[in-house]
Amino acid sequence: MLEIKNLSYNIVESDKENNILKNINTYFEDGKIYVITGPNGSGKSTLSKIIMGILQPTEGQVFFNGQDITTMSINERAKLGISYAFQQPVTFKGLKVRELLDVASGKKNTVDKLCDYLSMVGLCAKEYINRPLDDKLSGGELKRIELAMVLARNSKLNIFDEPEAGIDLWSFEQLTKIFTSLKNSCNIIVSHQKKILEIADVIILLRDGQIEKIGSLNEISPLLNSRTCHKLQGEKDE
């Protein structure tokens, strides 16, 4: 499905080169949930943005179903079947929820269909479809509509950048249900949240821009709980 080969991403700040990602090699298979986790600044979101084409890697390649997509634009990747949910949902002046869901799904939807998308994220369609997707909506509402847009696309590969951030308590159980229901696609979730890690088939632990370990939650857990790694959200203090 998706393969990443020898991928690096460097930026130059104040004449100093900063290696955000260093020689990443990994692959993602159909029908599985992958969670990319790691401390803040480990390069998780950067990796997800490179897969979507929002950032271009300094070195290395990205293959999607055997096709080299490294230099493809964002919309070309979207058309191949890659979707992306932003950590900070984007707002627009004047564009309505219904218009954005129509663009996402590639067709003009009936109210019933829009209702299906929005009810999956716990929203009542009638209250939302004609509202502008602007900052008058709460952070939680924006986040759910962001998820609904990805669901409306019915893509082969879905990328969710910290989907739990800012979401209200509608919430976690429904969110994890959504991810586990997406069985026909490959799903990559950037997350710190313990409950999200628990539904992962594979966890990729990043540290300082490198893959420290790839494995199941049991295999990764000792590293997560070590002093040198981050503390998961939702985890009780010992």
């Binding site: 634009s73 964002i74 919309n75 932003f86 984007v90 627009f92 002046k93 004047g94 663009v103 696309r153």
Partner: protein
């Protein structure tokens, strides 16, 4: 009416045929068709070009259409339309002007509209301006709107100018008395070498009078837009001006909001933001499969028409 005239009428007034209510069509500088009703009278002015529109007190849920179309080159049209809205009336007024100019001579329409809005009356006023035609002659529209709002009256004014108008100077002056409320939404798109200048002057004279001015402008290519607003608070009142502009290519937008709180109980706010289309908005729409050009178009459409 020929095909060009019919299409202009659709664009500026959403009219597919002559409506059954009060109506006045001005075509190429002359009154063409006029309907009056028992509630709304339209009379031609005696000493200058234009009409007086009288809406009787207490008339509810009625509409008046007063479109202007120009389909010839080299015409300079000046018209005075005065509206007298009776107390407690509730009306929708649809104006607008369309110029279709296939010639090399400039055509121009200067519409001076004055609204006298009675106590407790409610008015929604929609004005669309369109320029089109293959000729090199200018399509110029210079509307002036004067508004006098009595106690507890309410007015909502929507103006929309999309592509095609070579140049425009739009002036709006309003005086609001006790508890009167005025909402203005102005949306303008300019392209090529077009210019659009708008000036608002609103005097909040009455206690608890309120005004809200929202301007959304998009300037493309080498076009130029100017937005000037002047809110003057002479009583306990509230005023808010918001000017949002999107610039593309080599276009320029200048915004000059001025607020003057003469009374210490006046509360006046202005906000202005001009810039390119936000990069994250483009990226978001591209992740949904739109090209950059399609994403730009969708954002501009939503910004102007949403």
């Amino acid at each position: 009416m020929n095909n060009i005239e019919q299409k202009l009428l659709e664009k500026i007034a959403d009219l597919h045929k002559i409506p059954s209510g009060a109506f006045n069509l001005r075509k190429n500088g002359q009154a063409a068709v006029r309907n009056t009703t028992k509630d709304i009278d339209i009379r031609p002015k005696k000493n200058k070009s234009g009409i007086d529109i009288f809406v009787k007190p207490n008339v509810k849920n009625k509409s008046v259409h007063i479109p202007v179309i120009i389909t010839v080159g080299g015409l300079s049209d000046l018209v005075y339309n005065d509206f007298y809205i009776g107390h407690d009336a509730d009306v929708l007024i649809i104006a607008g002007c369309g110029i279709h100019n296939n010639t090399c001579k400039t055509s121009m329409h200067n519409g001076i509209h004055t609204f006298h809005i009675g106590a407790n009356a409610k008015v929604k006023y929609i004005e669309k301006h369109v320029g089109e035609g293959s000729g090199s002659g200018g399509k110029i529209l210079n509307p002036v709107t004067k508004i006098f709002m009595k106690e507890n009256s309410f007015m909502e004014m929507e103006t929309l100018q999309l592509e095609g108008v070579t140049s425009t100077i739009r002036r709006t002056n309003a005086k609001l008395y006790d508890n009167a409320t005025l909402h203005i939404q102005e949306n303008i798109l300019t392209t090529d070498e077009q210019t659009a200048k708008t000036q608002f002057k609103v005097e909040l004279l009455g206690k608890d009078s309120r005004v809200e001015v929202v301007s959304h402008s998009v300037a493309k290519d080498s076009s130029y837009q100017e937005f000037k607003s002047d809110l003057i608070g002479k009583n306990q009142c509230f005023g808010h001006v918001e000017c949002d502009g999107i610039i593309l290519n080599k276009a320029r937008i200048v915004s000059t909001p001025m607020i003057d709180a003469i009374d210490s109980n006046a509360s006046l706010i202005h906000e202005a933001a001009i810039g390119k289309i936000a990069g994250d908005e483009l990226i978001k729409l591209m992740t949904l499969g739109l090209s950059q050009e399609e994403a730009e178009d969708m954002i501009i459409q939503g910004f102007l028409l949403g």
